[in-house]
């Protein structure tokens, strides 16, 4: 189960420094003119009593020019534009950090929080973050590996790829630059089967977005795992709106309206089974936060995913509709004859299908109960011409031959 790294790991591909005791070096940054212009723009017309704050200093406008106020030094007044440029260039990491988040990333909460989290889970200083970014900060998001770096102009760049492709050179992967291309990458699994659930752990590998800017990195993640960042952000803000099973099923209408009748006030074991079937980490990377209702937790684990699942999804609702109908049947007693090995084989087959293992079972591996030859043998021996197990009709009044 992929999990976000708890702290910035910045070891991969690092230029090996013999002295491992030394803190990583802050890269040398040249102040780009767009960042400087953005500062001038921000100061233009700004109240002189409301300085623009950067890490370690602030800048304000005054009559004769600018005021520079370093936290660790003397306040300088009457600073010319040229002198201001010089001063900001000396503090280029702090200025480009301000520019990256205030001007490039922008205000939108989920995007800003996510990009911030990518490089700064713990409120680190600019120097610490830039030093880590210089070597590459890696984060996991579902099956993705996202590596954030910084250029010598203080711009953030992101490499987004499948975690299984960690360490693979870019030119050995299919390269993409438009984040919307990710919509095609998520459509089919590696066997070419349609993925109706984008957070299923079946993302195909072999591709890379090697050089995205901040907004495009967010858009790529959004295309691969839609709305996961928005929900993660709400959760971090303590505002995740969870809709539990009961209220979600009560809301359904049309062909799904029937699902609410499955809740008969006899407990929630049926919903435990649904969650075990559909919401386990082996089936979906979202961490299930919804329960039976707001007072009754389900008895199965919600998983360890980085991003939350706030209500039963459409795949679960559709499957629940089927189960509502199937589970309205009363159990019956059937009598079959099976050898002990045949009983175990039936169990093996169910396990293999449920765990998605059938493709792994080798053609000649007859030790496996779910092996195809073994299964065909069982069918040949135990099914009658109508496909009835043990020759026992499903309906008790059915006979082997039609009247």
């Amino acid at each position: 189960m992929p999990e976000p790294t708890s702290d910035a790991t910045a070891d991969e591909g690092a230029a090996a420094d013999d002295d491992t005791e030394t803190a990583p070096e802050v890269p040398s940054i040249d102040l780009p003119s767009d960042a400087f212009d953005a500062v001038l723009d921000a100061l233009d017309g700004r109240d002189p009593n409301d300085p623009l704050r950067f890490e370690g200093f602030s800048v304000a406008r005054d009559d004769g020019g600018y005021v520079l106020d370093p936290a660790d030094g003397d306040r300088q007044t009457g600073v010319s534009e040229r002198e201001l440029h010089e001063a900001l260039d000396e503090r280029a990491p702090a200025v480009t950090d301000w520019y990256a988040f205030e001007r490039v990333v922008g205000e939108f909460g989920p995007r800003r929080a996510f990009l911030r989290w990518l490089e700064d889970a713990d409120g680190a200083t600019v120097a610490t973050r830039y030093a880590a970014l210089a070597e590459g900060i890696e984060r996991a998001w579902g099956e993705l590996k996202i590596t954030a770096t910084v250029t010598d102009r203080g711009e953030r760049r992101y490499d987004v790829r499948h975690a299984d492709d960690a360490g693979v050179p870019v030119d050995e992967l299919d390269r993409y630059d438009d984040p919307l291309d990710a919509r095609e990458l998520v459509k089919l699994d590696e066997k070419g089967r349609y993925r109706p659930l984008k957070t299923a752990p079946s993302l195909a590998d072999g591709w890379v977005f090697p050089d995205l800017g901040p907004r495009d990195a967010y858009e790529a993640v959004e295309a691969i795992y839609p709305a996961t960042v928005a929900n993660w952000h709400r959760e971090r803000e303590g505002e995740l709106d969870v809709s539990h099973w009961r209220e979600t099923m009560e809301r359904q209408s049309g062909i799904y309206g029937v699902v609410k009748t499955w809740d008969r006030g006899e407990g929630h074991e049926h919903v435990d089974w649904v969650a075990e079937a559909c919401c386990d980490d082996s089936q979906c990377l979202k961490r299930r936060e919804w329960q039976y209702d707001d007072e009754t937790d389900l008895d199965v684990d919600g998983g360890d995913g980085a991003f939350p699942c706030r209500e039963p999804c459409s795949v679960v609702v559709s499957a629940a509709r089927k189960w509502t109908r199937l589970e309205s049947e009363r159990p019956r007693t059937y009598e079959f004859e099976l050898t002990p090995s045949e009983k175990e084989q039936v169990e093996d087959i169910i396990d293999a299908v449920a765990d998605g293992r059938i493709d792994e079972i080798r053609e000649a591996d007859t030790k496996e109960g779910a092996n195809r030859y073994r299964t065909r043998f069982l069918r040949a021996k135990r099914f009658d011409d109508e496909g009835n197990l043990g020759g026992v009709p499903t309906e008790p009044d059915e006979t082997g031959d039609e009247e």
Partner: protein, 289 residues
């Protein structure tokens, strides 16, 4: 900041279901008329329930990529988007005239302009005609041709037939095609008997569906007799009982659909600049061979 949200059905089973939605979103994105263009689905992700929280803008236009007014546009979408105070009377529609309603979406506590479906917009008639041009490869197709506009009948949705008739009537009034008929899958006149309803040797069959899927790729081709079994495929045109049928597939896949989405947003007050003209131009059928 102006945002467009296109909401569509999507599918758990058919990987191609979302393709027209994405394609039209891309066409509109390229015009630059909106600061952002998002897509949301009933059966895919982001779901209707969660799409609005991915939207950044404060002028939000939601356009349903559905063919008619009915269950989805009147109940499911407003409920799942959590449009506060929604009532179908907001649209004051006769089944064809829904334009827009401005309501607060509780999910984001911001107003959204909830538009009528694309299928009932007058511009949809142009898309049906454009679809006929595309499938025949003739930008002037009409003379010597019949046009069949096909949809579900009333069994599934009483407004479905209204939309089909509306467009068939409007196109007939233009006197471009020799004959125009509305045909249905589950009521009279039935698409199964298409050759009986036309005198023309050539008939373009345009199904009023958003995406290709079971109905347009399996049901209709088999019912009309284009093939015995859809897995065999069929030619365009295919002759059935003396009528050459030019089967167009789902009209919703026609690039000009992007225009109808824009029209819906414009009717609701979106500022589009030259986007409508741009889309009509970029989606045009090439002239000549």
């Amino acid at each position: 900041m102006q945002s467009l949200v296109i909401v569509a059905h999507g599918s758990h089973l058919n990987p191609g279901s979302s393709a027209p939605t994405y394609d039209h979103a891309d066409t509109i994105r390229a015009t630059g008329a909106f600061d952002e263009v998002k897509t949301g689905f009933w059966k895919e992700e982001p779901h209707f329930r969660e799409v609005l929280r991915t939207v950044e803008g404060d002028e939000i236009y939601v356009v349903p990529l559905f063919v008619s007014e009915g269950y989805f546009t009147e109940q499911v979408i407003p409920r799942e988007l959590r449009l506060d105070g929604w009532d179908v009377s907001e649209w004051d529609s006769d089944g064809l005239s829904a334009d827009q309603a401005t309501l607060v979406a509780e999910d984001i506590d911001r107003e959204v302009h909830y538009c009528g479906p694309v299928g009932t917009h007058r511009a949809m008639s142009d898309v049906i005609v454009r679809r006929a041009e595309s499938v025949t490869g003739d930008p002037d197709v009409g003379e010597g041709f019949g046009l069949a506009v096909v949809g579900h009948g009333t069994e599934r949705n009483e407004n479905s037939a209204k939309a089909i008739e509306y467009h068939a009537d409007r196109i007939a009034e233009r006197d471009r095609f020799d004959e125009v008929r509305a045909l249905y899958m589950d009521e009279e006149p039935e698409v199964d008997d298409l050759p009986e309803f036309f005198e023309s040797d050539d008939v373009v069959l345009v199904p009023l569906f958003i995406a290709d899927g079971y109905h347009t790729q399996e049901d209709i081709p088999e019912d009309v007799g284009l093939c015995e079994d859809h897995t065999e495929g069929y030619d365009v045109p295919t002759e059935v009982d003396g009528t050459r049928i030019w089967y167009a597939g789902a009209v919703g896949t026609e690039p000009l659909m992007a225009d109808v989405i824009l029209e819906r947003a414009a009717d609701a007050g979106a500022d589009l600049g030259t986007a409508l003209d741009d889309v009509r131009e970029t989606t045009r059928v090439a002239t000549g061979d």
